[in-house]
C-alpha cells in the first residue's frame, strides 16, 4: 500500500479539495490519493449526498417555511435615486476652501456689512462648516477635557482618548459608552470633533442636515449642526461650533434605543474667556496656584522634576493631570482632586522652578442619580467556553477580574511611558545631565517592571485557558525608547481589547478559539515591544 493510502487526507482537506478551496501545494497530493483510495472516494460521495440533502432542505423546505417579509420590499431603484439626489444636494455648494466659495463668502460678507447681516451666515451648509472646522482643529489637544453626560451618570475624560476607562476608574460606564459609540459607527476616541461628526454623517446612506444659528445679545455666537437619519444606531446628532473659530464645544447624540449622550468641553488649549461659549464657564471654575515666580526660562530638567514628583505620588498613572512646559513656566493642571490629594500635589510641587499649579473644578463626576458608583468589577457572565475551561462561573469571574486588572495596570504604565516619550524626546533627553537622565531612567524602569509582571500574568492565563504559550518574538531592532512608545501602547491596547472580547464580551462574532489564537499572537508582539523598550532604557546608560 502506498504512503498516500496510509495517510488519508483530513476530512476538511478532502472537502476543501472538492470545493476547489484547497491550498495549491496540497491539490496534487490529494488528487493522487483520491485516484487510489476507494475509501476516501466513498466518503466524498457520501458527503455529496449529505450536501445535496442539506441544500434541498435549505432552499425548499426551510426557505418555503420561513415567514415572508411583513411588508413588500422597497423599490430599490427609487431609494437609490433618493440617495443620489441627497448626494447632489450635499455637494452642490463648493467646498469652503475653494476660490469660488470664498468669492461667495466675500460677496455675502459685503452684502452683510451693508444691509443684510445674516445672509451669508444662513447660507452656510453643514458640510461646509464641518469641512472648515476639521481643517481648523488644533493638532495639540492634550489638555482638552470633555464631560460626557448620559441619562445615568457622567464622566470627565480627555477629549482625545485611545484607551478604555483606566484613567478615571469608570470601567463599566466607559466600556458601555464605548460599545454604544462603536455600534453607532461614531468615534469614541475623539467624540467631540468636526472630523468624527463628518466621518459618521458621511457614512450614512441618507440623512437630513440643517444648520441653526445661535445668537447671544443679537450677535452670532455659534452654529448648531443637526443631522437626523433613519440609518444606524444614532437617530439624531447635534454639534455646536463656536462661530468665531468653528471650534466644537458641545454635542448631543440621540440613540435609537432612546439613550442620549451629551458631550461638552470643559477646558481648551488656548482659552479666550471673552470668546468662550457659556457652556465652558458655567459648569466649573478654575483656581490658580502659582508656586514660584516665573521670571526666567524653564528647562527640561525643571519639567523632569515635576514628573518625578508626580511619579512619587503615583499621580502619573492615569490621573487627570497634565503638564505643559512653556518658555517661562510649567503649567500643571489637575482635574478636581480630592482635598487630601490636592494638598499632596501642592507640597510635592512646591519649590520647583516655574511651576504653576492649577486646579480645574468641573461639576462633580458622579452619577446623576443615586450614590457614587464604586469601581465595579466584572459582573457579567463569562463566555461559557471560558467558564467551562476554568471549572465554573465563580472561578471564571475571579480569573477575569485578575486578568483585566493586570491589563489595566499595564495600560496605565504604557501610557505613562508614552507621555514621558512625548515630553522628553531625544533632544530634550540629551539636554539633561547624567543625574537627571538617571532619574528619568528610574521612572521608566518602574513602569517596565509592572508591564513585564502583567505580561507574565496574562501569558500564564493563556496557558491555563488554552494550554498554549505565546511566541517569543524577537524585539525590533534597537532604537531610542521614545520611538517604541507608541507601539508599546498599541500592543498593550491590543492585548487589552482581546482579553475583553475573550473574557467578557458576548456576541462579538468571534469564536473563543479564534480569539485565543489572536491573543497568543498579540501577547507575543506585546512582549517584544516591552523587551525593546527595556533594552533601549538599559542603553541610556
Amino acid at each position: 500500500m502506498s504512503r498516500q493510502l496510509i495517510n488519508h487526507p483530513e476530512p476538511g482537506e478532502l472537502l476543501a479539495y472538492a470545493d476547489g478551496e484547497l491550498r495549491e501545494n496540497r491539490v496534487r497530493g490529494v488528487a493522487r490519493h483520491l485516484c487510489d483510495c476507494e475509501q476516501c472516494r466513498g466518503w466524498l460521495e457520501e458527503i455529496e449526498r449529505g450536501v445535496a440533502e442539506y441544500r434541498r432542505s435549505l432552499h425548499k423546505t426551510l426557505r418555503e417555511s420561513l415567514p415572508a417579509p411583513p411588508k413588500p420590499w422597497f423599490d430599490i431603484e427609487e431609494r437609490l435615486t433618493e440617495l443620489d439626489a441627497e448626494r447632489v444636494q450635499q455637494s452642490r455648494r463648493p467646498p469652503l476652501g475653494s476660490p469660488l466659495s470664498w468669492a461667495v463668502a466675500a460677496a455675502g460678507l459685503v452684502i452683510g456689512l451693508f444691509s443684510i447681516p445674516s445672509l451669508f451666515e444662513h447660507k452656510v451648509s453643514a458640510a461646509e462648516l464641518l469641512h472648515k472646522a476639521s481643517e481648523r482643529q488644533p493638532a495639540s489637544v492634550r489638555r482638552r477635557l470633555i464631560r460626557v453626560q448620559t441619562r445615568s451618570g457622567a464622566l470627565v475624560r480627555p477629549a482625545l482618548w485611545s484607551r478604555r476607562g483606566a484613567a478615571f476608574r469608570e470601567r463599566d460606564q466607559a466600556a458601555a459608552l464605548q460599545g454604544m459609540f462603536a455600534a453607532a459607527n461614531y468615534s469614541w476616541e475623539d467624540p467631540l470633533s468636526a472630523q468624527s461628526y463628518a466621518a459618521w454623517s458621511n457614512s450614512l446612506p441618507s440623512r437630513r442636515d440643517e444648520v441653526n444659528d445661535i445668537r447671544s445679545s443679537g450677535r452670532l455666537s455659534a452654529y448648531e449642526i443637526r443631522t437626523t437619519t433613519d440609518h444606524g444606531e444614532l437617530t439624531e446628532a447635534r454639534l455646536t461650533l463656536r462661530a468665531s473659530d468653528l471650534h466644537p464645544v458641545r454635542e448631543k447624540l440621540h440613540f435609537r434605543n432612546q439613550e442620549w449622550v451629551e458631550i461638552a468641553e470643559l477646558q481648551e488649549d488656548a482659552p479666550e474667556p471673552e470668546r468662550a461659549a457659556p457652556v465652558l464657564t458655567a459648569k466649573g471654575g478654575i483656581e490658580r496656584r502659582e508656586q514660584a515666580p516665573a521670571n526666567s526660562n524653564v528647562s527640561p530638567a525643571d519639567e523632569l522634576r515635576v514628573w518625578a514628583a508626580l511619579h512619587r505620588l503615583e499621580a502619573d498613572l492615569g490621573e487627570p493631570i497634565t503638564v505643559e512646559r512653556e518658555p517661562s513656566r510649567i503649567l500643571v493642571s489637575a482635574l478636581a482632586p480630592p482635598p487630601g490629594r490636592r494638598a499632596a500635589l501642592e507640597e510635592a510641587l512646591s519649590g520647583i522652578r516655574g511651576v504653576e499649579l492649577r486646579f480645574d473644578n468641573p461639576q462633580p463626576v458622579r452619577p446623576a442619580t443615586g450614590e457614587a458608583q464604586p469601581r465595579s468589577k466584572f459582573s457579567a457572565e463569562a463566555r461559557p467556553e471560558v467558564a467551562e475551561r476554568l471549572g465554573d462561573q465563580g472561578r471564571a469571574t475571579e480569573f477575569i477580574n485578575q486578568m483585566l486588572e493586570s491589563s489595566d495596570s499595564a495600560l496605565v504604565r504604557a501610557h505613562a511611558i508614552r507621555r514621558l516619550a512625548e515630553h522628553f524626546p531625544p533632544e530634550s533627553e540629551q539636554a539633561l545631565n547624567a543625574g537627571d537622565r538617571s532619574v528619568l531612567r528610574s521612572m521608566l524602569r518602574d513602569h517596565i517592571e509592572v508591564l513585564r509582571e502583567a505580561r507574565l500574568k496574562v501569558s500564564a492565563a493563556l496557558r491555563e485557558l488554552a494550554q498554549r504559550a505565546p511566541p517569543d518574538l524577537s524585539p525590533p531592532s534597537p532604537a531610542a525608547w521614545q520611538a517604541g512608545a507608541i507601539e508599546l501602547v498599541q500592543s498593550s491596547e491590543a492585548v487589552d481589547r482581546l482579553l475583553n472580547q475573550l473574557l467578557a464580551a458576548q456576541g462579538s462574532g468571534q469564536t473563543t478559539e479564534s480569539l485565543l489564537e489572536q491573543l497568543k499572537t498579540a501577547i507575543g508582539r506585546w512582549g517584544a515591544s516591552i523587551e525593546a523598550t527595556q533594552t533601549a532604557v538599559i542603553e541610556m546608560e
Binding site: E10, P11, G12, L14, L15, A16, Y17, A18, D19, G20, E21, A31, H33, L34, C35, R41, L44, E46, I47, E48, R49, G50, V51, E53, Y54, S57, L58, H59, T61, L62, R63, E64, S65, L66, P67, A68, P69, P70, W73, I76, R79, L80, L83, R87, A183, S203, P205, S206, H231, R256, N257, Q506, G507, S508, G509, Q510, T511, E513, S514, E517
Partner: protein, 190 residues
Amino acid sequence: MIRASTVKILPLDSEAEHLEAEERDTLSPRERVTALFEEARADVYAYLLTLRLGEAEAQEVTQEVFLRLYTVMRRGDNIVNGRAWVFRVAHNLGLQSLKRTSARAALTPELEQQLPSQDEGPEKKLIETEKQARLKDALGRLSPQQRMCLHLRAEGLKYSDIASILGVRSSTVGEFLSRALVKLRRSVHE
C-alpha cells in the same frame, strides 16, 4: 476507477465569479446593486431570520445592507464579491440589531427551529418525511459555528468569505463543514 479531478461535490464559484467580474466591468454600481438585490434579498432575509432576528428587523436590515453596498460602490470601493460583502455586512448588522433587542437569548442560528413542525396548521402541506425529521434533528445537534458555516456554504460563499464573516481562519471553515456534514450523514442514515 474515477478520475480524482472529476470529484466535485459542491458547485464551484468560479463561473459565478467570472460572471460577476464581467458584470463589474460592464454594469454601473446602480445596476449591480439592483440586480443583486433582486437575486439575493430573499437569501439574506432568510439568513437573518436564522440569526433569530424578527421578521420586520430582518427585512429592515436586509434593505439597509443593499443601500450601504450602493454607498460604498458609488464611493469607488472595489467590491469584488458583492454577495459575500452583503452577507458579511448583514451578519454584523444582524448581531448589532440582536444586541439592541437583547431579550433574545442566543446569537446563533437555530435552523432546526425554523423548520416546519408537523403540527403547524398553515404549514401542514409541508409534511416532513422521516428523513427530513432526522435532518432537522441532526441540524439541532450541530454547533452554532457548524450550522452557520453550512448555511453560508450552501449560499455559495467561499471559505475565505465565510471565515471573514465568522472571524475564523479558512482552514477552520473546512473543518467545521466536514464535521457538520459527517454528523448530518450519520444522523440521516443511521
